[in-house]
């Protein structure tokens, strides 16, 4: 399907928003202003943006520990995201969640997950609910290669297939689960081959090409929406940064990293759009400035926001506040 010029420009802008957001976060992590564990999405922007743009607004996503990109692509307010990373009360989870647990019910994002593979059965459950209530929506479930070796993946994929549920599984094969390469963790090369075991379609695509991701996911979404059940898309990509801040990246080579950086998904899309005449250097500069200023505003918002009051520790354990704690 042809994408409008506006939509393409918007996809480019969103990829950039993700990258610049993550760069900012990276700075705050090294300075110690953002505490705890954070996993950056830099290098994988085409997957989130391509996939989410293949959805309708009402469709759902569920995300992972490396989830900032998914949230931004789905339209989350980056001010609330930044505030959450700072542990502030104005954050997406009132400071309770942090990077690992960003969620946005408004944009139908069922949330990041601190447990590798933990979100996959939940996405299948959400798809079940859509099916039972005869809704039109589908859910797109992000996870990465590492999660594919959890029992939760196999159990959920089988259930989704057996019950013919409207879920699209998007595996971002960024080549590593922490330090463990796909070669070390799997005895197959093409992760999409696993789809066969569940009798669902499985495709491997170039996850650094946003339009290729868009097309593949569009097809999976269509199928799910029309009652054709789940499918698996394996998007080949790369995480540029270490797994988290403590990662010295001893398990991979500089050459390998450079080879992937040379295939920068944003630069690639930018060039494509320039060739189409949709972008030029001035426009690119303007978008950069707009994105950066939006992120600066988010930072200011986060920094100026208050921390939660201590008593908020006891809020939201149960829905009914009177349960004894």
């Amino acid at each position: 399907m042809e994408l409008s010029e506006e939509k393409k420009e918007n996809m480019y802008r969103n990829m950039l928003r993700i990258r610049q957001f993550e760069r900012k976060v990276d700075q705050f992590i090294s300075r110690g202003d953002i505490t705890g564990t954070t996993h950056l999405y830099i290098g994988q922007e085409a997957v989130a943006v391509g996939a989410v743009n293949a959805l309708e607004k009402e469709d759902y996503i569920s995300s992972t520990h490396r989830g900032h990109g998914h949230s931004i692509a789905k339209g989350s307010d980056i001010k609330e995201m930044m505030a959450e990373l700072f542990g502030k009360s104005t954050g997406a989870c009132k400071g309770k969640g942090g990077s690992l647990h960003i969620i946005d019910t408004e944009t139908h994002n069922l949330g990041a997950n601190g447990i590798v593979g933990g979100g996959i059965p939940i996405a299948v459950g959400a798809a079940l609910a859509m099916d039972m209530q005869e809704k039109d929506e589908v859910i797109l479930n992000f996870f990465s290669d590492g999660a594919m070796n959890q029992g939760a993946f196999h159990e959920a994929a089988n259930l989704a297939s057996t019950w013919n549920l409207p879920v699209v599984f998007v595996c971002e094969n960024n080549q590593y689960g922490m330090s463990t390469s796909v070669e070390k963790a799997f005895n197959i090369k093409d992760l999409a081959a696993r789809a066969k075991a569940y009798n669902i379609p499985g495709v491997k695509i170039d996850g650094n090409k946003v339009l290729e991701v868009y097309d593949a996911v569009k097809e999976g979404v269509k199928r799910a929406r029309e009652g054709g059940g789940p499918s698996l898309i394996v998007a080949e990509t790369y995480r540029w940064k270490g797994h988290s801040k403590s990662d010295a990246k001893v398990y991979r080579s500089k050459e390998e990293e450079q080879a992937w950086k040379d295939r920068d998904p944003i630069a690639h899309f930018e060039e494509e759009l320039k060739n189409e005449g949709l972008l030029d250097d001035d426009k690119v500069k303007k978008i950069h400035e707009e994105v950066d200023s939006e992120i600066e505003k988010a930072v200011t918002f986060a920094q100026d926001s208050p921390y939660p009051a201590k008593k908020e520790l006891f809020d939201d354990v149960y829905v009914d506040a009177e349960v004894e704690l």
Binding site: T35, G95, K96, L100, N113, I115, N149, G151, Y307, L313
Partner: protein, 324 residues
Amino acid sequence: MRTLTGREAVREALTEEMKRDEKVFLLGEDIGVYGGAFGVTAGMIDEFGEKRVRDTPISEAAIAGAAVGASLVGMRPVAEMMFMDFITIASDQIMNQGAKIHYMFGGQLNAPFVLRMPAGAAEAGAQHTQSLEALLYHIPGLKVVMPSTPYDLKGLLKTAIRDDNPVMFIEHKKGYGEKGEVPEEEYTIPFGKADIKREGKDVTIIATSHMVYKALNAAEELEKKGVDAEVLDPRTLVPLDMESIVKSVSKTGKVVIVHEAHRRGGIGGDIAARISDSDAFYYLEKPIKRVTGPNTPVPFSPVLESEFIPNEEKIIEAVLKITD
């Protein structure tokens, strides 16, 4: 004496036991070249090779299950859960399988494996910070070890590896950086022997894992207020050294139990019950107090997390309530 960090002490115990017994091997996520999420096994793959320091896929059920299985057929696996929270994924293999094999098969098989796991709040939100020892403590067949100092970590881990039962070895993330004296000479520490970390006569503070450090700080402050606190570290929860607890409580007549885990169903409740069941009951002068994490998940925001974790102030307050 030389000092080591908790991290180094654990590594030294693993290294010595692997040299002593070629059946001992390690498995877990990113324990090889990465050296483990907390750097505990750093460099060990160079010394022992990838056969004995095995990186696994992210498959906790398979990690724990493979440890159980290998232990049944002659090996002595030491498996690592990257975070204690992930025992929930491996819980069938730990609780229904490993824990019960010796008993339900009429004592014919042993499952001598160790599961190491870092616990405790350290800036990572609800799913990477829990202290779930009570879950394990509840299951017959598991031994549960929860050391505080580098000395105890090393000596108890060596004992754990030599033990013929499944041993759950709970390390505290904040204990990895703590320093303490560890002798160069070989030693082991028997299970079921509490350690009096500080002698005192007015009140017994029973503290586990990283709370031992906080209890010791609190005891120093209390001394300035004229309260002489004894700090008792059970070190192993199963078996629990009730004899030492009864002895200390009979001397002081007052008890404060401190753990980071949630209060409801926490081991503090069971220890309190066992004190009431024992001869120490007759010496109790005041109600038994508990200082614990609250019955909430662990929040991410640093201000909320530090409100969650029991601290010196709360320990002192609890002690003063029963000594003033």
